[in-house]
Symmetry: C2
Subunit: 220 residues, 2 copies
């Protein structure tokens, strides 16, 4: 009887460990994080990762055999996307666990961003109340394709390269809040830094589409 139990447990945990293995590589984690923003082709992903297309393809293959992503073809491209909302939750859990348990992550932040101006992101609840009263100018500084896939309600698409043009002659007095992909994305930081140079007070938030239920998000 106990032998039966062992065989069952061996099999079950071996299956679950396949998902763990998929999460065991920095590259794959970054791929998954990128895919939370919307479906992407192998090429796009490789470009973001600064990795070779062949290598990216191999990682995607592993993610696929662990069932964390699925793919379909669009013309000559293969488009990958997360396999379901369970993957979003899984990623959120592992990054959340990392934040709360790995103090190294906090140290890395201090090392890369010693500037205290980087330190006061708008927390999720404050952002939500600002959005509810329409008391902010919310800019989405991700690439346009990700904005098109999903964006926060009321957000304006201002990809980083368009920042200067968009804010030339800016006079509005609503507070500007920039968001990007979330926790480990630096676009919003870059945007706030640039706007500060231009004398425009802006803040960033680490909240992202991942903090909203999918149904409420806008597309197009």
């Amino acid at each position: 009887m106990s032998d039966d139990h062992r065989a069952w447990k061996d099999e079950v945990y071996a299956h679950v460990a396949r998902m763990g293995k998929a999460l065991a590589s920095p590259r794959r984690l970054e791929i998954l994080d990128l895919l939370t923003q919307g479906p992407k082709s192998v090429e796009q992903l490789a470009g973001e990762l600064l990795a070779s297309v062949a290598n990216t393809s191999q990682h995607l293959h592993q993610l696929k055999s662990a069932r964390l992503v699925r793919s379909h073809k669009e013309g000559t491209y293969v488009i990958y996307q997360l396999a379901g909302p369970a993957v979003d939750r899984l990623l959120e859990s592992v990054e959340e666990a990392g934040e709360s348990l790995l103090l190294e992550l906090g140290l890395a932040r201090q090392q890369y961003f010693p500037d205290p101006a980087d330190k006061d992101p708008v927390p999720l609840d404050e952002l939500q109340s600002l959005m509810a009263s329409d008391a902010l100018y919310l800019i989405d500084v991700r690439p346009p394709a990700e904005y098109a896939a999903q964006h926060l309600p009321g957000a304006v698409s201002v990809p980083l390269p368009m920042l200067a043009e968009h804010f030339r002659g800016w006079q509005d007095d609503k507070p500007v809040v920039a968001y990007c992909r979330g926790r480990y994305c630096l676009y919003a930081r870059d945007a706030v830094r640039y706007l500060a140079q231009q004398g425009i007070a802006a803040r960033r938030t680490e909240a992202s589409i991942r903090d909203w239920p999918p149904g409420v998000l806008a597309t197009g």
Copy 2:
């Protein structure tokens, strides 16, 4: 600037991947699952795993350097436990993702438990309403130490070896519900099967202490 971004992301995802690596081994997953039931010594864990103490100790060391567990000494024993509630949530997420994405897990269930009597566990909400109206005899069939660490309110400790003795001459007409460690634990199945042989109608539930907020659980 993009180089800065890469260095930052390389470092961050390398850190997060440490947690992924910790989840990449069946043994370690099983250890973590066991530790959700309460603190345990290296020896106890090795016994449950049917693994060598040295090997178990090594896995625990890896889990510790990934910050998923922490340890303290009690007399001559080193007691390990989960590092915090974030680890419970992480485990729940990875197993939940496995259940919803890896159809192999469902197939394994069918293979090991073809008996349809295994198929109707009491769902969480039904269990909760039964518990609220005190309309069941809830037995905890885990080892006594785990019952002592934490158990569902109102549950009676009936470790598997005590089953026969406990139900000798049983006449109560309350429905019997057995629970154990949760999803991949077989104790409740074994209990229900034995009780059925004795002509006692009992059901199992896959709900476990992991489904209750820690504050509500009873100890001792």
